[in-house]
Symmetry: C2
Subunit: 302 residues, 2 copies
Amino acid sequence: MSLPSHVRLIDVGPRDGLQNEKQPVPAAVKIELVHRLQAAGLKEIEVTSYVSPKWVPQMADNHEVMQGLRRAPGVRYSVLTPNLKGFEAALRDRPDEIVVFGAASEAFSQKNINCSIAESIERFASVVAAAKAAGIAVRGAMSCTVGCPYEGAIAPERVAYLAGLMKGIGVERVDVADTIGVGTPRQVQAAIEATLAHYDIDHISGHFHDTYGQALANTLAALQMGVWNFQASVAGLGGCPYAKGATGNVATEDVVYMLHGMGIETGIDLDALVDAGAYISEQLGRPSGSRVARALLAKRAG
Amino acid sequence: MSLPSHVRLIDVGPRDGLQNEKQPVPAAVKIELVHRLQAAGLKEIEVTSYVSPKWVPQMADNHEVMQGLRRAPGVRYSVLTPNLKGFEAALRDRPDEIVVFGAASEAFSQKNINCSIAESIERFASVVAAAKAAGIAVRGAMSCTVGCPYEGAIAPERVAYLAGLMKGIGVERVDVADTIGVGTPRQVQAAIEATLAHYDIDHISGHFHDTYGQALANTLAALQMGVWNFQASVAGLGGCPYAKGATGNVATEDVVYMLHGMGIETGIDLDALVDAGAYISEQLGRPSGSRVARALLAKRAG
């Protein structure tokens, strides 16, 4: 098995995770979570989003959170920016990277942002240009690259199409996301293969959800293609495993455990990461969505 | 990715799963579970165990369960036999296969059955001989092939040693089990590689626990070596995912979902399997340990 010797993990818990939490989370808790993640060795953290608080009230404290951070050297802090207005608001808070997005499913794009895939990416062109002018990196989140709740299976050609549009407006690197967690290893590999038509392997990250328990198998399949950037969410934030039909991000702890067990370096201290996950789980008043965290915490408790 | 086109699954839920349940389960429920599993397309089912009811009260109804089965053609019904007395009791119930066992960890063997690995296998020699004389197949369950709760990591040489002892007494095929679920893909491949010194790939099955969420990644790694026999437990029976420190078998539903998604045949109807898992979970009064089952049941409920 020829695999990367090092993997870079992007923890999306504070943004992609907490955004989906029903209960409000104080800005101070979000800041503390980011601090714990960077102390555990995370080098990339998706912190918040500059969307209208009308749509995503959980992220209304974006400015407060970003301003409250004690930034650690060498850590990249990214934020989601849905449009130019959001980007301008984000600019005040000096993110290292902004995240723009698009779906590989036409139906998903229409239902969620009320325009075609092509239109949605075209609207981001000015955001990407403004970010570059300001010296800020740009990542593109490609959702529904394997399956869509409306269309079902997504053909790899649609992923290549979306990746091409992203490349066309100057997006530097992209996430291949299995947003509803339905993918299995060969399907995920096909989506990554399609993305390789426009981005090299160093500029592709895997973003897998564990809804059907497939995320680590998919991570292994992606590693075998040479992918070495992955998104994950501490404590599996973003989908309570006890809730009906929850669609959760894979837990960062579970990914780190597998990688370390395979001799692949991450620079992350698993124990400190488990502590960070235990902190936010306690704040939310529920057990961690990470199997590794639950097993290790039970072991610690004897 | 070159992989087997067909996989044979051995559902160990009725035995390995229910054996670890705290609450008593009526024989009629166990029988119904086996019937539902065979109706869903399972061709191998580990039904019960002939151990002393003093040690495992859950399996005291072995005779009643075996006699209550409406056997389906082409299905292999296996039972665990810890010794000659157990084998003789089992013989009345005409199992198709008996299962003997041993640990790859010397400390585990001493703590659990109070003798060395070599002694434990030697004691099974008469059981294996008697089974063969009666025309009954013999499978060997090799536990702790990756990690042990007392010793920690287990060297592949210890797995080869155990496999050699199993081969020596005439065991026809073996399970490579990660009993405490700590293994990751490369470690599991090393344990299988060690087993190949004594058994060919068609006579090796993978038995992975999902304690640390690694079971499907490990299954993929085993598939990539050509392994096409796997044990799994419907609904993840054998470890409640909500209990402290639970060490659960991987859920059959989760394995089937991955295999079908990869175009690998199992002969199993996933919907019927989910129903079988929902049945036993309801009887036990708790949610299924299968992520696939929870996701599909939530989807059905709308």
